[in-house]
Symmetry: C2
Subunit: 203 residues, 2 copies
């Protein structure tokens, strides 16, 4: 995993990261924010490129500027897509990043993409100059936790069709941007079932 950083970061991208950090992590003062942002490095990713493989050690956290990145794992009989991340998502293999375990997931770009990346050591330095960072991070992770809780609940209480609608409502743009088979897998159904549900609800 190599980083191609370019000396002058695009102002548009910088403000996208700034805004997202503000929105996601709450109010931080400008000086602190700039300090955080300096630790991130810009990196372009080609369609199809794999930026993390299952069982590697995930040393980086990514912030996605543009493009679509699929989170999946190969099992004995099929590939299981766990999530598709896109603009303004923070992306990492948490178990690996936090606990130095082998990564569960593989990250592959479904389109050309641009990310900011920050490696673990630099990430861990943030708290040294942003005193409120631990609290901010705590709330962020708790938020991620409750999102996953909802997702478990969707599998305990909804049919494939209900999961489809629920997800479609909140992620319409994704349906034009990535192969639908991956969305199907992520929702826990086959591509065929997904296709049949779609036919019932043309848009």
């Amino acid at each position: 995993m190599q980083t191609q950083s370019i000396p002058d970061l695009s102002p548009t991208h910088l403000s996208q990261l700034q805004e997202s950090i503000q929105n996601t992590f709450g109010i931080i003062n400008t000086q602190e924010l700039n300090h955080i942002i300096e630790l991130f490095k810009w990196k372009p990713i080609k369609k199809g490129e794999i930026i993390l493989r299952t069982n590697q050690n995930c040393q980086a956290m990514y912030f996605i500027l543009s493009g679509y990145i699929r989170v999946f794992v190969e099992t004995a009989d099929k590939e299981v897509t766990q999530w598709i991340a896109y603009q303004n998502y923070f992306l990492t293999d948490l178990a690996s990043f936090m606990f130095d375990k082998p990564a569960r997931w593989t990250f592959q770009a479904l389109t050309d993409a641009e990310v900011y990346m920050i490696n673990k050591d630099e990430y861990n330095r943030i708290k040294d100059f942003v005193p409120t960072w631990p609290e901010i991070e705590r709330l962020f992770i708790c938020h991620c936790f409750t999102t996953l809780e909802d997702r478990v609940f969707s599998h305990l209480s909804m049919t494939a069709e209900e999961r489809y609608h629920y997800f479609f409502q909140n992620n319409k743009e994704l349906f034009n941007q990535v192969p639908l088979q991956y969305i199907a897998s992520m929702l826990g159904m086959t591509a065929e079932t997904f296709s049949r549900i779609r036919r019932k609800y043309p848009f």
Copy 2:
């Protein structure tokens, strides 16, 4: 929600909480540990008692000393059990506890139980006298996150029978202690399906 605290805590229970905090949150010195433990109050719970209702504000975190507590929610057509917590679990409605949102879940004791409880204000004071607390808490929540990630994965990649085996392997004792219909629901299957799977694997 009221707390009946008794003046002299049982040494056995105290050490159970101590040990669990040590195991779960890593090394803390004895003085800090004692300080944390003083903030918890002992509370007995009767079988059937509901200690949190959906849409209430969850002001407490519980540490379970003994007994079984079911986490569930009523939907339009059925009750969905999300989890069953027992000895040495920390239990709260995270979205409510952290973000003051209405609780998603209802907590009901399936057996008589004993818990230590700590309210939100006291919980938030821990970091004032345990400097390493935020870091400890971060790792704990990340661990919970990855557990949920596994659970989502189980619904994307496993059959009902596989989920049954996977869960049974790791939670054998639960099967003798609580009505099986709740375990079925928590694994995303009906009680009938659960019963038929069990018949195939008598033990």
